[in-house]
């Protein structure tokens, strides 16, 4: 009997094992039919993000005051980050280095634009002190804004490897402060600049002639007649005013986040700000070039405010006629130190 009982127990045990084995075998196909394990799959961020469509967001429920913190994942942010990290440096690099190359080629081919008739020895007031103040207010702020802004786009690539993380962090932190707060005097400068110079920068028929003759930049000693501002200067004026306005509005939205809308709108404005900044920097490089080494006698206009009469006659003949009619131009034999060249 004990033997029969033992045999029975063994049989029951075998039956149970067989049942478990069968259950296991049957269960395998069922498990294989599951496309993913939700718990394991949640760590695969790439698959999760790919599954989200354009504009989708993963949101949660929060109790802190910042309601926008409920957005946990916004896939469009990856596109924005990719643009900032990869495309923006390329766009900026091509724009700025391209402009630098153009200016160097122009200098090599055309050379410095000289005063064809030589120095007259007589000066004429071109810009009053308040005009020069406004120019330098806007220009000095722009240079700091441009450098600190370029650090945002290129600093990781160019500055960080040279100076290391600590120096780069300190530089970037102070650069950001300067960028934030110098934006305000820059915007003020733009407004004043617009008010004092807009009347002289309205495009007219005379500007077409300037363009037809290439502004006199391409041929030696040949200058189209121009009023106080020639067509090229008018172009720079409107680039600064309109480009500066776009920079100001987009910058204002970055200074005061979420003013224009949600995070997606913010990202669009940061892209506009960055692209316009690169274009404006390139335009200002050309402006700085022609106002300094590119053209003899040009810097005096914003340096001392007075330019040589011959320079004025060559580049702004119509304006000189107006000043002569007003009687504001000094006699031609007024003593003046002539630079030795």
């Amino acid at each position: 009997m004990p033997s029969s009982l033992s045999t029975h127990k063994v049989s029951v045990a075998r039956a149970l094992c067989a049942a478990f084995a069968l259950l296991f075998v049957l269960a395998q196909p069922a498990a294989a039919q599951l496309s993913f394990n939700p718990t394991a799959e949640s760590v695969h961020e790439d698959q999760l993000l790919k599954a989200l469509k354009e504009g989708d967001k993963i949101t949660g429920r929060i109790s802190i005051p910042d309601a926008m913190a409920a957005s946990l994942i916004q896939p469009a942010g990856r596109d924005w980050r990719d643009f900032q990290r990869s495309k923006m440096p390329i766009i900026g690099g091509i724009t700025i280095i391209g402009m630098l190359a153009v200016l160097l080629i122009f200098l090599a081919v055309r050379g410095r634009i000289r005063i064809h008739q030589g120095w007259a020895g007589t000066k004429i007031l071109r810009f009053a002190s308040f005009e020069r103040f406004t120019h330098w207010l806007t220009a000095s702020c722009f240079i700091v804004l441009a450098l600190s802004g370029l650090n945002i786009s290129f600093g990781r690539i160019l500055i960080l490897p040279l100076f290391g993380p600590q120096a780069f962090s300190t530089l970037s932190a102070y650069g950001k402060l300067a960028h934030n707060y110098l934006a305000f005097p820059f915007m003020l400068g733009l407004v004043i600049m617009f008010l004092i110079w807009v009347k002289d920068n309205i495009p007219g028929k005379i500007d077409l002639e300037w363009f037809k003759q290439g502004g006199g930049l391409l041929t030696n000693g040949k200058h189209p007649p121009s009023p106080r501002f020639n067509a090229g200067q008018k172009g720079i004026f409107w680039v600064v005013i309109l480009g500066g306005a776009v920079m100001s509005v987009s910058g204002w939205f970055e200074l005061f986040p979420y003013l224009p809308g949600d995070v997606t709108t913010m990202q669009i404005w940061t892209v506009i700000h960055a692209v316009m900044a690169m274009l404006l920097i390139a335009a200002m490089m050309a402006h700085i070039y022609i106002g300094s080494i590119g053209m003899e006698g040009a810097f005096d206009a914003m340096g001392t405010g007075e330019v040589d009469l011959n320079w004025a006659k060559e580049h702004h003949s119509l304006w000189v006629q107006e000043e002569l009619a007003k009687g504001t131009v000094p006699a031609a034999d007024t003593p003046r130190a002539v630079p030795a060249e």
Binding site: I64, D66, S129, F133, W136, C141, A178, Y181, F184, P185
Partner: protein
């Protein structure tokens, strides 16, 4: 030259003035975007509280 120096001085003074005005009307993010229960010691400098 005087106009240039005056412009530099004005821009620096204006920037400092703006920073002072904005700091009086704006809250730091550690205050604006959190409740009292979530704030840490020395916010802005220490995210984990006193060691």
């Amino acid at each position: 030259m005087k106009s240039f120096v005056a412009a530099l001085l004005f821009s620096a003074i204006a920037a400092v003035g703006v920073s002072m005005v904005l700091s009086t009307i704006q809250q730091p993010s550690s205050v604006a975007f959190t409740t009292g229960g979530a704030r840490v010691g020395d916010p802005g400098n220490n995210l984990v509280g006193p060691s």
